[in-house]
Structures are given as C-alpha cells and as structure tokens.
C-alpha cells in the first residue's frame, strides 16, 4: 500500500520528479539545510540513503516501543498494590503510544504501517536487544524504569534535534512522557531498597542483571558502529554511542548511591583526570549473540507479538466492515 499522508501529499517518495539537471540543485539545497541546522520535512528532496537510514532507525525504534510493552506487562496482574498497578498500566499504555508516534513518523518517509509490521514479524527489522531479557521479579519493573528508560532518555534527548522534522517532533513528545517512566522505576527501587532485607536483595539482584544490558543499549563502540559516522554527518545522530554511554554511567553512579544499591562493576571508579567515571569492559559477544536471536526471550517476544496481531485481526476486520457499511448507508440515503 502506498502511504499517503498530508505531509507527503500524494507523492509517495516525497521527492519532486527531478529533471537530471535539477538533481544537483536539490542535493545542494538539502546539504545547505542540514548544515544550517534546519529541519528536513517529508516533501523535501532527500538522498535515498538518508531516507533509507531514517526508515531503518525509526522503524527499529517503533518496534522497540511496542515489543517493550511485553516484559513489563508481565507484572501488571501481580503488581503489589493498586497504586503500582495503575502506574504500570499507564506506563505500558505510553509505550504503545510512543510506538504509534514513531510509526507515523516513519510513514511520512513513504513506507506503510503494514509493511513495517510485516518486517518486524518476519524478523527483517530489529528491535532493541534489551527487551530479549526476562523480567524475573517485581524489582525488574523498577530496574527497567530506572536503567532501561534512563538509557533510552539519554539516547532520545539529542534526537529531539534530529535533522528530520517528524522524527524530532515525535521525540519531543516521547521525552516529555518518558521522565515519568524513569521516576516511577526509581521510586519503586527505592521502596524495595529501604524495605526488608529480602526486598533490598531483590532490588540489588535486578540492578545486577539489568546494568550491563542497559550499557549495551547505546550500541557498539564507535569504531565498530556501521551507521554512526554517516548518521552524525546527516545530523540524525548528534553524539556518538560511546559519548552517550559515558554520559549515562556518570549520571547513574550518584543515583545508585542514593538508592543504597551498588552497580555490578568492580572497575567502576571516578577518574579525576578525565572528569568521568571509568568502567569495565562490556561483553560484546553477549550483545551480538542476543542481537542474532539467541537471547533468553527473542523467540517468546516475536511469537507473542505475532499472536497478538493475528488474534486482533477479527477486530480490525469488524471495524473495517462497519465503516464500509456506514459509508454505503450514507451514500444510499444521500
């Protein structure tokens, strides 16, 4: 299906049908807009590689939001109080909303929603590896809010200034909503940490398991990141993976202290000279392995996602049939 949005108009690829002689003028206008820190909008001419790179990144981001609903919704029915349950439901609903903002942004680039979901379901597009880890205890809900959402915020705040307008605007909404996610997680962990020795141990165990995967969320080291340099040149990305990872570590250390919990890294220490914390080596073998599909929950997440989609088919069909009937009735009486 051809995606037609008001922003793209009826022109699927958003590129004006350029004469050969105009092509370099369009390219120059694009380069100038990026250089001047202006935003690229859907109907502007853009290099095909820029478009493809954005589709890949925004789709992966959208998929991560909706797959990310699964590990947390695992605990909705077992939340320890009505207050915690209402909070968790609101958070999971927000993740669905974030997915929808992002799918809409991707559609302005000329891809359809169905196409994106097909690619997720068939494994041709990825989602963040972090969601292939299981939520074993209630404390994991807290660790996800504090660390996983915290890492996501660190990644997403600079994306609010991304060169592609619709992506940047979606990120502004997402970031506003995300800060509640992080704070509820932190508060949850604090309650556990200050609770009984068993509750404290449960909080510490969750942090021990989520810390390293959270650091991996920033992606491979700069010298091994295949898309980074070009994305930075196009101002899709504003900071390198390692830069953002360092920023996150520096933010987390004092937060962990305030929680009364430790971070599971014997090499973690303040480096006066650098003005940053040094931290231990990340196990990238694990990262690549999970990315390839061998994490604890890869299979479960995709199976559940496909099942939800298939089992919702009758609802979508019924709504479509109803709309068609209303439309036909309207024409009959007109």
């Amino acid at each position: 299906m051809t995606a037609v949005t008001a922003e793209t108009g009826t022109n699927k690829h958003g590129s004006p049908a350029a004469d050969e002689k105009d092509a370099s003028a369009y390219a120059a206008a694009f380069d100038a807009a990026v250089a001047a820190d202006e935003r690229i909008e859907p109907r502007d001419w853009m290099p095909e590689a820029y478009r493809a790179s954005l589709v890949r990144q925004i789709a992966q981001h959208a998929h991560s939001e909706i797959i990310g609903m699964q590990p947390e919704s695992n605990w909705i029915t077992r939340a320890p109080s009505l207050r915690r349950k209402a909070i968790l439901m609101a958070k999971v609903q927000d993740e669905a909303g974030h997915g929808l903002y992002l799918y809409s942004a991707a559609e302005t680039l000329g891809v359809s929603r169905d196409e994106l979901l097909d690619k997720l379901h068939s494994g041709r597009q990825k989602y963040s590896s972090i969601f292939n880890y299981p939520t074993l205890t209630w404390a994991d809900v807290g660790a996800i809010g504090w660390l996983v959402d915290g890492a996501a915020i660190t990644n997403q705040v600079p994306l609010c200034r991304c060169s592609y307008g619709p992506y940047a605007r979606a990120m502004v909404r997402v970031c506003k909503e995300e800060s509640f996610h992080q704070r509820q997680g932190y508060e949850l962990l604090l309650a556990l940490s200050q609770g009984t020795p068993e509750q404290h141990a449960m909080a510490q165990d969750a942090v021990d398991r989520w810390w390293w995967p959270s650091l991996m969320m920033f992606g491979p080291p700069d010298d091994e990141s295949s898309h980074s340099a070009q994305s930075m040149a196009w101002k899709i990305k504003r900071h390198s993976n390692d830069e953002l990872r360092q920023r996150f570590v520096d933010i987390c250390v004092p937060q962990a202290e305030a929680l009364g919990l430790t971070l599971p890294d014997p090499d973690l220490r303040w480096n006066e000279e650098r003005g940053h914390h040094d931290f231990g080596a990340i196990d990238w073998t694990e990262f690549w392995d999970v990315l390839k599909g061998n994490g604890p929950c890869n299979e479960q997440r995709l199976t559940q996602r496909r099942r939800a989609h298939e089992e919702g088919a009758w609802v979508r069909d019924a709504a479509a049939a109803y709309a068609t009937k209303q439309h036909n009735n309207g024409e009959a009486t007109a």
Binding site: T5, A6, P16, Y101, D114, A319, A323
Partner: protein, 95 residues
C-alpha cells in the same frame, strides 16, 4: 475496505480555550468516530486538549516545497507591510 487499508487521519488538538487547533500528528482508523477516539487515547492522555479535529489525510492539499521560492515570493519584496518600515519622529506617542 479491508483492515489493511485503514485510512490515515491528521489530528489537530486545541490545548485550551482561546487557542487554535494545532497539528499533533496522524493515525490510522477505519472511520471518523474511531479516529476521534484513537486521537483522544493517543494525543491527550495527559489532558493536553479540550477539543480534537480529525481530517482524512487525503483531504489535505499542500503547497509543494519545490515551488517554495516562487510561491511565496510575492511577499518577499513588500517590507512596507511591516510597521518597522516606517520612520516616526522621536517622542511621538501611541503609534
């Protein structure tokens, strides 16, 4: 229409009385009523609006970025439409 081609709707939200509706984003829905409900759930979960419009995306006609210069050019050479164009002697008030 099948479930695979639910049309796209553009969503406009009035954040409070006295302000105009502003474009918030887009969504898919089978009909206008469902589009309104989805828009409420998607764009006003934190009381961001007191009124919502949904418009089929296909009903929007947009100017082309391609003709940006010539289309908007007529306004470019008319600085006399701005109050700052005019020189008024110092000390003259209420102008």
């Amino acid at each position: 229409m099948t479930a695979h081609d639910w049309p796209l709707w553009e969503v406009f939200v009035r954040s409070r009385r006295g302000l105009s509706h502003t474009h918030a984003g887009s969504l898919h829905a089978p009909d206008a009523q469902m589009a309104l409900r989805n828009a409420r759930d998607l764009y006003t979960r934190r009381s961001e609006g007191v009124s919502i419009w949904v418009v089929p995306s296909t009903a929007v006609t947009a100017s082309s970025p391609d003709e940006k210069d010539s289309f908007f050019e007529p306004a470019g050479d008319k600085p006399y439409r701005h109050p700052t164009f005019y020189e008024i002697p110092e000390g003259v008030k209420h102008l």
